[in-house]
């Protein structure tokens, strides 16, 4: 025993211990059932996305590519990416529309997941390359990139996986980075004046609703909201430091924030909201399983009656 101790590495020093703790946190395992649930949700969302939410990309099939302004990733990193001609737009659209529901079942997760990621990435290049870049998809795009790395996962599987843990942690970090770095961007581009400026008035005048137009008459509310938004965004990383009991409430607060934003200025951040479910125990929500259980028990209740009927 003494020999072993003598030969063993010296007790880890402070930085190593913190490093180890960080790695344990980064790879904190999650059940495979959660992977299956997030996959289903994510890939089903793509159907809604290409049909409704990002239909502006599909509209580009008629817009001449002369109006296409390639992003750096297209120009520098992947110069071989084709300009969004009608054929390119249609390939992405139909590819995503057909493959996503299949991927939602969970079959061929690596192959289908990778193909969908590539198609969706191109879809996003089309969507963002005509003069406007949206900012609500970073975490969703990252989810599409890392979900294929986990491999097979079945609904209801309680097996814990570190690989899945890493993927989920990355998605979560991307969700929170979207908030935290958004505050940073506001301070970088807008400066501290953003807090007491009229950015929100601007947003409401351009895309306000009956839920928000009344706010225009109360400048103090506009300013309070702006301070509230930045405070919330800067404080969002707190979610990584709260315990399991409080975390769902923080996530609920995030969802309420987006609900209010949507009511006020019709910006929904829908893909981001899907990625945010990575903070929740989504594997417990199993509508198909419940339906199956309900049908089975209903059948059992009916069958004895049938049996008596036959006997009578």
């Amino acid at each position: 025993m003494a020999e072993v101790t003598a030969e063993a590495a010296p007790a880890p020093n402070m930085p190593t211990r913190i490093g180890n703790r960080f790695m344990r946190w980064l790879f904190a395992p999650v059940p495979l059932g959660r992977v299956a649930a997030l996959r289903t949700l994510t890939y089903l969302f793509i159907v809604f996305d290409v049909l409704v939410y990002s239909e502006a990309a599909r509209l580009k099939e008629t817009v001449p590519t002369d109006l296409y302004v390639p992003l750096h990733v297209d120009e520098v990193l992947f110069p071989f990416i084709p300009d969004p001609s009608t054929a390119v737009v249609q390939t992405c659209f139909w590819g995503l529309l057909i493959l996503s529901p299949i991927a939602a079942i969970g079959i061929f997760p690596r192959l289908l997941g990778s193909v969908i990621f590539v198609l969706y990435f191109e879809w996003m290049l089309i969507f963002n390359s005509y003069g406007k870049v949206d900012h609500d998809r970073f975490a969703f795009l990252l989810a599409l990139a890392v979900l294929p790395t986990i491999g097979r996962a079945r609904h209801g599987d309680k097996t814990l996986s570190e690989k899945a843990g890493w993927a989920f942690r990355l998605i979560q970090l991307a969700v929170i980075a979207t908030y935290f770095l958004a505050a940073w961007a506001k301070l970088r581009f807008g400066g501290l004046e953003w807090l007491w400026g009229t950015s929100l008035t601007w947003a409401i005048l351009r895309r306000g609703t009956e839920w928000s137009n009344w706010m225009l008459d109360h400048v103090w509310m506009i300013k309070t909201s702006q301070v509230g938004i930045i405070t919330f965004e800067l404080m969002s990383p707190i979610i990584f430091f709260v315990n399991d009991r409080i975390r769902p409430w923080v996530v609920a607060y995030f969802y309420v924030f987006h609900l209010v934003t949507w009511l006020a200025i019709t910006i929904s951040f829908a893909p981001h909201l899907i990625a945010m479910t990575s903070f929740l125990a989504v594997e417990r929500v199993r509508p198909l399983h419940w339906a199956h259980q309900w049908l089975t028990s209903a059948y059992r209740r009916v069958r004895p009656a049938e049996a008596t009927g036959v006997a009578g």
Partner: protein, 131 residues
Amino acid sequence: MITLVLAAGVFYGTLWGDDDDFPIGPFRMYSTSRELDEPVGDTQMYAVNADGEEFQFTQTYTGMRRAELEGQLDKFEADPSRLHYLADSYATRYPDRPPIDQIRIVIEWIELDNGLPTGESTVEEVVSWQR
């Protein structure tokens, strides 16, 4: 390792990058600050067809979102003939309708006084094109 590269990329994007750097650009939604008396601009596009009918030339007709028009406004101003691409897009989308002869982009400037909309607005024509 992948984690670190991703994190470095996103921090780089937020600190020094811009929208061109998608997907690692800064998350700059409504990030510019506005003065309390600065008018708010609402960009609108109108088209006149061969029958002389004028109508608002929206995303459904052109395939271009308002924010996209605004993002490319300087290019349209520099070369108004670029607007004909939108007429082309309309012709592809609605082959049976009369073709577009004129397009103009205007900005409606909604006046603010100390953060309150005054109810007044001025319309400024930014660029126009005629076939």
